[in-house]
């Protein structure tokens, strides 16, 4: 856990609004994430957490600063390179409401792989061991509407990890889950990513997340208010 995978250097992003000053969504954020490390970003709504993820995912251009992944400046990527970067180097776990209705678990998990040079059949074959690992083997032929929310979230994790990415970005992955299911999902995400040495940036305002993270940062009004690990918000009975 020493090699750096991700480095953010003085990232800034502002948004125009109809009246008044622009909103400073991300305001000079710098941080690093090592290989296999799980970093939790904690903060209230509107603190800039999701914008920060979008900047890391090269879905937004920063107004200033840079995003370095594995030594490459993500902000300098062309649209095509940025897409390739998200497809191969990045996994995205978000709330599971957007699974493809009508498609079964295997198809939903294989969505990223289908975007690669693999054909549909090979993509479905390759994602199966991951589904087994995530405990979805017996749900493979089920459709989203036949799954629990926890199971849907595991499908999203399978999709994110399907291309063996270097970094997983998780945006409020437990937002729609109860305490027990939320903990199960976070535990599984942390376990599987550590096994594969995949780094994770976990954005959440769920206090349980801290107990699974190697480091925790707090984001407020677009700034990292503490650049040291902060476990103050973690529950006492956490790991």
């Amino acid at each position: 856990m020493c090699a750096l995978v991700l480095e953010l250097r003085g990232l800034v992003k502002h948004f125009a609004v109809a009246s008044g000053e622009p909103v400073r969504a991300v305001d000079g954020v710098s941080l690093t994430v090592a290989r296999g490390e799980l970093l939790a970003l904690h903060g209230p709504s509107g603190s800039g957490k999701t914008t920060l993820l979008m900047l890391i995912a090269a879905l937004l251009p920063p107004d200033a600063g840079s995003v370095i992944l594995d030594g490459r400046d993500v902000c300098a990527f062309s649209a095509r390179d940025a897409a390739r970067y998200r497809l191969v180097d990045l996994g995205f776990v978000r709330q599971s409401l957007n699974l493809i209705a009508g498609a079964d678990v295997v198809d939903n998990a294989a969505l990223k792989l289908m975007g690669t040079e693999l054909g549909a059949r090979e993509a479905r074959r390759r994602v199966r061991p991951l589904l087994d690992r995530l405990g979805l083997a017996d749900r493979a032929s089920h459709r989203p509407e036949q799954l629990s929310m926890g199971e849907r979230q595991r499908v999203m994790i399978a999709r994110a990890l399907s291309t063996d990415p270097k970094l997983v970005l998780a945006d409020e992955p437990t937002g729609s889950l109860d305490t027990q299911r939320g903990s199960e999902v976070l535990e599984l995400l942390a376990e599987v990513c550590r096994e594969r040495e995949v780094s994770v940036v976990l954005v959440t305002h769920d206090p349980r997340a801290a107990s699974y993270a190697d480091r925790v940062h707090v984001l407020r009004d677009g700034r990292l208010v503490e650049d040291q690990p902060d476990r103050a918000f973690a529950p006492i009975d956490a790991k």
Binding site: A16, A18, L59, R94, I100, L111, G115, E117
Partner: protein, 839 residues
């Protein structure tokens, strides 16, 4: 991205949006079907005429043709033969006639010719070589005509020609099968001498067709012109094609215009159906982008959606169009058969198929890709910017876009009415752009009103209408209603204007007298066949008859227009039907008609020749005669245009005093029916003349007009049916999609009744906004279409704002849709609350 992955993605997603996809297929298929069927109908008309002309005339180069039904001296044939370069000259005598058999009467174009036609003509007449044609004393008629009148073979039938009825022998089956296009026509062939004897035109011909080497064209033409001496028409042998093309063009243009609008309505249904799936597709695009799909890959995925949709819809549309064109849109030439010997025949060309398929595929690609253009191309910033900021910008753009489109439509209406299709498309775009603003305004007004009632259902309806998640779906439903009513109103009202215009002509032309007497023949419905008129004195002597006037009329070729010449007796007080004058004063034109030396001419003919009121125009009649133009008129319902002059002027220019109808005025107290019976009795059963009251004749005229407009009537009915079906499907799909949301509301404690009423309020507001705006824009569409019909086709159009039709369409579509919401909506509100709690 591999094709197998694209196909897989398509397949798995299809399960969840099958109903909406089916609806989109239906919309595009309706558009494709209408385009295809109207294309087939138009092509069938044009190609039938072309096949018939070429099949009969083969490689013959020129024709020398008479300008009236009396023809010219047959001795001219020898003179033509003697022209250097002429290798063969075939004599022809043509006349309108009726064949009367035991089971009915049919109108035929009697063509008398000699065996040289079989030798020099095209493949349709080569079978005549096997006959000893010259010695035959019989009429060879197409088998379908023989069957229709109940004649089997070699039987004697009655032949009504002019004012006479003669007996003739019929040979029906000879032209069956092998003669192809001729078998489907109304041509009755006879040896020349026999035809001359039957028509009483011994020693006369109406045309001579000439065969010559192409290299000698100039020499032969010069010889023919010299032989024609300025009183005969010299032109290419196949000139009938050009005449027919010109005559059929307005009908084809009107059909094309209406079909294009109908197809547009169909395609917009599809577009709106696809709007209902925009939220899902937008979510998919978001997912794919987050997961690393490039724009190109996303477009590939969506293009495959569009391709499958387009291919399936085109296949269904072609099948439906085939059914429409063979069952509904028949290729009957209708009133064009009065002037051209052509029968119903369906001809499908690759061009028709290609045009319909191209339209369908284009609609599918636009329908799938256009609503998602923003999502595909957007930079992420737009998703994160202030909603109020985006809303204000969107409102401004919608307003600017909508008003610009309205202005563009107005410019087209005033400056380029020929671009009516583009005008209606832009008007539809204006409607769609302004609709969200109207909907927002209506929702705001409703919100202010509903707070006074403090009802939960109206409150819920406002919440749902304002929910950004429901925005695309709400606009989709309102837009479907708007486009449905818009298309339906525009087409129905313009069709009504055209029908009323034709009715006015029918009323105005026929009401000039009590009873009409003219040669009996369907082809003589416009009173264009002359007869000797010796019975005029006999009719005038009848006690019931107060007055008798000689009406004259015929078809006259002016350039490539076979125009209808209308020549009422000079003493007719109001010869001009109401609303037919486009330039000039009715009072002055009527006075000049009575004075003589003046003609009233269709504006289309005048414009072609740069003629204006007061100008001198030499009518190319058998005796070319100069006339001054008294006024410019519509085409009186005859597509190639019409010319009106008084009957005395006609006699002078045509060099004949033969009437084509007797206008009989009855003594006071004598009813038209009684007068008609008395005249029929006086003429006897052997007469070839038909006696009709003005009302009967007007009824026939109206029926002919309706027949001419039958395709437009069918299109307008289809649009209405498609409208109701489309709204049913849209509302059904909308309600089905709402079940999870309704379940959530039940969890929040809202009762079934409240939810049901909320659904009704919401649907009512959506439909109210959409359908009312559609009705208003439909009335503007009527103005554009009616104006285009007058200026482009020259048809008589009696414009009156179709407010009743607009109201009826609004009520029909809204009521149907509300009914559809009410019943399944009540069922949908029975949804179990558990549907919203899955985990």
């Amino acid at each position: 991205m591999k094709l197998s992955s694209i196909v897989r993605l398509y397949r798995v997603r299809l399960r969840a949006r099958f109903v909406q996809e089916l609806f989109a297929v239906l919309g595009i298929a309706i558009g494709v079907a209408l385009l295809f069927a109207s294309q087939v109908a138009s092509t069938s008309l044009d190609r039938s005429a072309q096949q018939l002309t070429r099949g009969v005339l083969g490689d013959m180069r020129f024709q020398i043709a008479a300008r009236d039904a009396h023809g010219f001296d047959e001795r001219l044939l020898a003179q033509v033969h003697a022209i250097p370069g002429v290798s063969m000259a075939v004599p022809v005598l043509e006349a309108n006639a009726n064949v009367v058999g035991p089971d009915g009467t049919r109108s035929v174009d009697l063509v008398g010719t000699d065996p040289r036609l079989a030798g020099q003509g095209g493949q349709l007449v080569r079978s005549l070589r096997a006959l000893r044609f010259a010695k035959l004393k019989a009429l060879i008629v197409p088998a379908p005509i023989a069957q229709a009148i109940g004649d089997s073979s070699l039987q004697r039938i009655d032949l009504q020609i002019g004012e006479s009825t003669v007996s003739a022998l019929l040979v029906p089956q000879l032209l069956k099968g092998a003669a192809g296009g001729l078998a489907g026509s109304s041509i009755a062939l006879a040896p020349l001498a026999y035809a001359q004897a039957l028509t009483g035109l011994q020693g006369r011909l109406t045309s001579i067709f000439v065969s010559s080497p192409p290299a000698l064209d100039r020499q032969v033409l010069a010889g023919l012109r010299s032989a024609g001496a300025g009183s005969l028409n010299i032109r290419p042998a196949t000139f009938n094609e050009a005449l027919f093309d010109r005559a059929a063009r307005p009908t084809n243009q009107s059909t094309g215009l209406f079909s294009a609008i109908s197809a547009l309505v169909g395609f917009l249904f599809a577009f709106n159906a696809l709007l209902l799936t925009v939220p899902q597709r937008r979510d998919l695009i978001e997912d794919l982008r987050l997961d690393g799909y490039t724009r190109g890959m996303i477009v590939e995925v969506l293009m495959f959606d569009a391709l499958v949709l387009g291919v399936v819809a085109c296949a269904a549309g072609l099948a439906l169009g085939e059914l429409l064109s063979s069952v509904l849109f028949d290729s009957n030439p209708g009133y064009l058969s009065f002037a051209f010997p052509i029968g119903p025949r369906r001809i499908v060309t690759w061009t028709s198929v290609a045009l319909a398929v191209a339209g369908g595929l284009l609609a599918a690609f636009i329908g799938v890709l256009a609503p998602l253009r923003g999502a595909i191309l957007s930079r992420r910033d737009t998703f994160f910017s202030d909603p109020a900021y985006r809303s204000a910008r969107r409102t401004t753009w919608l307003l600017v876009g909508g008003v610009s489109c309205l202005l563009a439509t107005t410019v087209i209406l005033l400056a380029a009415p020929a671009a009516a299709i583009a005008g209606v498309v832009i008007l539809a775009a204006a409607l769609l752009l302004l609709l969200p603003l109207v909907l927002d305004g209506l929702t705001l007004a409703f919100d202010r009103l509903q707070v006074r009632f403090a009802g939960a259902s109206s409150y819920l309806a406002v919440i749902e209408l304002r929910s950004p998640g429901n925005r695309a779906r709400s606009i989709g439903v309102a837009a479907t209603g708007a486009i449905a009513v818009f298309g339906s109103v525009a087409i129905q009202t313009a069709h009504g204007d055209l029908q009323e215009g034709l009715n006015r002509v029918a009323r105005g032309l026929n009401a000039t007298t009590d009873v009409w007497v003219s040669p009996a023949s369907e082809a003589n419905s416009l009173a264009t066949t002359p007869f000797h008129g010796v019975v005029a004195a006999q009719v005038a002597a009848l006690p019931a008859v107060r007055s008798i006037g000689l009406y004259r009329g015929s078809f006259l070729d002016i350039g490539d227009r076979r125009t209808w010449v209308i020549a009422p007796p000079r003493q007719v007080a109001r010869p001009l039907p109401r609303g037919q004058l486009l330039e000039g004063s009715t009072a002055l034109a009527t006075r000049r008609f009575h004075e003589g030396g003046w003609i009233i001419i269709s504006r289309a003919i005048a414009q072609e020749r740069n003629l204006h009121v007061g100008d001198l125009f030499t009518l190319p009649a058998p005796r070319p005669t100069p006339f001054r133009i008294a006024a410019l008129s519509t085409n009186f319902g005859w597509p190639s245009g019409a010319i009106m002059l008084n009957a005395d002027d006609y006699a002078r220019a045509w060099g004949s005093s033969d009437p084509s109808a007797l206008l009989v005025g009855l003594q006071p107290g004598i009813s038209p029916a009684a007068g008609r019976s008395e005249i029929r009795r006086a003429l006897g059963s052997g007469s070839g003349l038909e006696v009709q009251t003005a009302a009967e004749r007007e009824r026939d005229f109206r029926a002919t007009g309706r027949q001419g407009l039958s395709r437009l009537t069918q299109i307008s009915a289809l649009v209405l049916i498609a409208t109701v079906l489309a709204m049913s499907a849209t509302m059904g799909a909308m309600i089905w999609q709402r079940r999870p949301r309704l379940a959530e509301m039940k969890v929040d404690g809202f009762s079934r009744d409240v939810l049901w009423r909320a659904l009704l309020w919401e649907s009512g507001l959506l439909l109210g906004a959409g359908c009312s705006l559609g009705a208003v824009f439909g009335l503007y569409g009527q103005v554009i279409l009616s104006h285009a019909l007058v200026t482009v086709t020259g048809f008589p159009v009696a414009f009156s704002p179709g407010i009743l039709i607009a109201l009826a369409s609004f009520v029909l579509v809204t009521a149907t849709a509300m009914l559809i919401v009410a019943v399944p909506g009540a069922l949908a509100t029975r949804v179990r609350p558990a549907l919203s709690i899955r985990d």
